[in-house]
């Protein structure tokens, strides 16, 4: 059962990635900026531009360019950056480590903050505490990353001097951006944990557990939490996908040398091979993370069966 399910999901994944590559490539093909002209610079003659266009294969029709790109992609070749003239794979791999690091800490803080606040809200449901926490989570998830990052940077790094002013390297550097991500993103988790916990708290087996004399805390951690946490797992999968490609703002503000910053620099300079490369890597990350999350769910909750058909 399981292997077939995985194979089928992988089959879908290939289709999704093909679709993503096609759409990205098509969009960037259509934007009215000629990469050859950009490479050739302002003092180039029309002849030089034509020459560069031919060398890059940009004079070929779209389907041929796309086909070449796909063929290279299958061999693991993402091409060279137009601006930096470096292999896109080298640029991406230099950024993967920092992004993973920030992601791990960011999701860690999201879970820590989100799950504890969600639990608290569920236990105190319909009280002022509950309403305050839910309002707070709403503010968190709807805050623009740009404003919040700047605000935290000025408050905690400039004024209070608790953290370094951006940068990368030491452990202290990761804390503030990760906390920013954790605080903003925890709202998703706290709301999710709250509602699933309330659902679980109303189940009969909880009343049974309480009535056989277990302490509140023991019920909470032995019986409620393991059941309430299940929907959080696929959310982590989605989060990983978003974080790999989507930390554009936080990484830029905090000077974090991750993929998001690379994407932002590439977009500003219309560096097409890098934009396509980062998009592809993000898509791969989203697909894989979701797959893993889906595979983990039945391990945590054996009642859930993958692929009932």
């Amino acid at each position: 059962m399981m292997p077939i399910y995985i194979l089928r999901r992988l089959g879908y994944a290939v289709l999704i990635l093909l679709g993503v590559s096609f759409i990205t490539y098509l969009l960037l093909y259509m934007i009215p900026a000629d990469p050859a002209r950009q490479l050739a610079g302002r003092s180039a003659t029309a002849e030089t531009v034509a020459n560069i266009r031919a060398q890059l294969g940009l004079d070929l029709p779209f389907y041929q360019q796309y086909f070449h790109y796909l063929m290279n992609l299958i061999q693991g070749d993402l091409g060279r950056s137009y601006i930096q003239r470096t292999e896109v794979s080298a640029l991406i791999s230099s950024r993967l480590g920092p992004t993973m690091e920030l992601m791990a800490w960011g999701i860690g803080f999201e879970l820590l903050i989100g799950v504890s606040l969600g639990m608290l809200a569920a236990i105190k449901r319909n009280t002022a505490i509950d309403r305050f926490l839910m309002a707070l989570s709403f503010v968190g998830v709807s805050s623009p990353h740009f404003i919040a990052s700047m605000l935290f940077l000025y408050l905690f790094a400039v004024n209070l001097d608790w953290f370094p002013l951006g940068g990368y390297g030491e452990f202290e550097h990761v804390l503030l951006p990760a906390l920013t991500l954790g605080l903003l993103g925890s709202g998703w988790y706290s709301r999710m944990v709250r509602s699933s916990m309330i659902e679980v708290l109303e189940q009969d087996f909880i009343r049974t557990a309480r009535s056989k004399g277990l302490t509140r805390l023991r019920v909470l951690f032995r019986h409620v939490l393991p059941n309430a946490i299940v929907p959080v797992i696929p959310m982590i999968g989605i989060d990983i996908g978003i974080f790999i490609g989507g930390l554009v703002v936080v990484e830029s503000v905090f000077g974090w040398p991750g993929l998001g910053q690379l994407a932002w620099q590439a977009i500003q300079r219309v560096d097409i091979p890098v934009i396509v490369g980062v998009t592809m890597i993000s898509a791969v990350a989203i697909v894989i993370a979701n797959l893993i999350a889906d595979l983990l769910v039945p391990l945590v909750d054996p009642r859930i069966e993958l692929d009932k058909s």
Binding site: R37, G41, S43, V49, A90, G166, V253, P257
Partner: protein, 539 residues
Amino acid sequence: MKTTLTRNLLATAIASVILPVTAFAADPKPGGDIIVTYQNDVATLDPAIGYDWQNWSMIKSLFDGLMDYKPGTTELALDLAESYELSDDGKTYTFKLREGVKFHNGREMKASDVKYSLERTANPKTQSPGAGFFSPILGYDAVSAGDTTELEGVTVVDDYTVAIELSAPNATFLHVMGLNFASIVPKEAVEEHGADFGKNPVGTGAYELGEWALGRHLVFEKNEDYYKEGVPYIDTITFEVGQEPMVALQRLERGDVDIAGDGIPPAKFLQFKNNPAYEGLMVVGDQLHTGYLTLNVTIPPLDNLKVRQAINMAINKDRIVRIINGRATPANQPLPPAMPGYDEGYEGYPFDPEKAKALLREAGYEDGFTTELFVMNTDPQPRIAQAMQQDLSNIGITAEIRSLAQANVIEAGGVQDQAPMVWSGGMAWIADFPDPANFWGPILGCEGAVPGGWNWAWYCNEELDEMGDTADAMVAEHQRDDRAELWGSVFIEAMADAPWVPIFNEQRFTVRSERMAGDESLYVDPVHVPVNYDYIWVK
């Protein structure tokens, strides 16, 4: 004129009093490590390819060419060439090279390296954005067409002598030899690293590349074998990349950063200018820049001279300068004041909306017309375009703003019937080298009025082009002033046709930490843009 004279006298008087003291205090001190920040990762350090305001002076510190400029000035100076001779027909330059100059890999630089380096840049396979600058060299066309890889005009006479023959006398040639694209590179290092030479640069310059952690930082280390005695002063320069400009300034204020490479974001300029914490840390300099509005002379009704003149009189340049917080001075002609050939006596078109309306009436556009204004979409460019839009609406012209990404505006400007008006801000034009010729051909001459060119006004006046050619053939030293004057008149005559509205000449600002020393001109060097790293030092 009078005021300048008095000011000069005064300056001399003050200088004579202060100089002995400052000269003593300003003795450069070797040593120290500094940190420079930038937002973007460095594109490439390959001198044949690098062509932006971040890597330009970095490349200059890693590499040398035959010619350079006196630090902080636009004055040509010898670099790897010890001397040069110009033949009587004005076509052949024979350069004598310095002996004993070593590449960072330890090998001595020879005449064959000069030939190799020039041919490498000219070769279309290198995809150098500067290849076109070498077109005066005899045999360039054959190399450019891919027929050969050797420049016919470049001859290695002996190990320390190289002769470069041009197809015609060309007064800008020594400037071309001072461009990064003419830097001397060792063949073996280029071949070893191939397309990654830009990540593993080897030159003869004052610094060598120590480490490059992609997306994080680069470290420049002092070249102990540098041929110039005593320079550079600083031991290591660490370029931290990926730093938001505002954050960089905060770090500078704390003393964590020595030079904020991206300067001050336009919207925050006043805030910093008036902040006592930054007093004395900001250096202001002129640059060879003019911001202009192009009026496409081939698109009706802008093909009508009176309409173009009316637009010239309608735009309130003082107000635009105020919009950018006084970071520029209003311009009335294409050449910037720091450029040879600038005409101080020329008054340009006055700001006179009434007269502008009268001109429009004469041209038959009493009720005005609707046209388009293309502009790059990053601050402050759209705000400047809006000011122009208002000024134009005052004389009855409706200008619809097309705010696009830089590459897209450049693309539109290079198509003849696409963009009636383009505001050049953020794109053009800063001179590649300090010579008026560089302000003509690509942006006002017929050679630039081609698809994909930078002459977005599509102005082509063959008579003026010929005058420019005449000027560029004046290669003898004693003709220098006459040449500059002739070039100056080319630009003033072009203004009679009003293909542009010259708006302002932008100034440059560098923010450096308190411990940084060296003449202020080094921090706004007009050639080693933005900072001349070879001569600055730490207190």
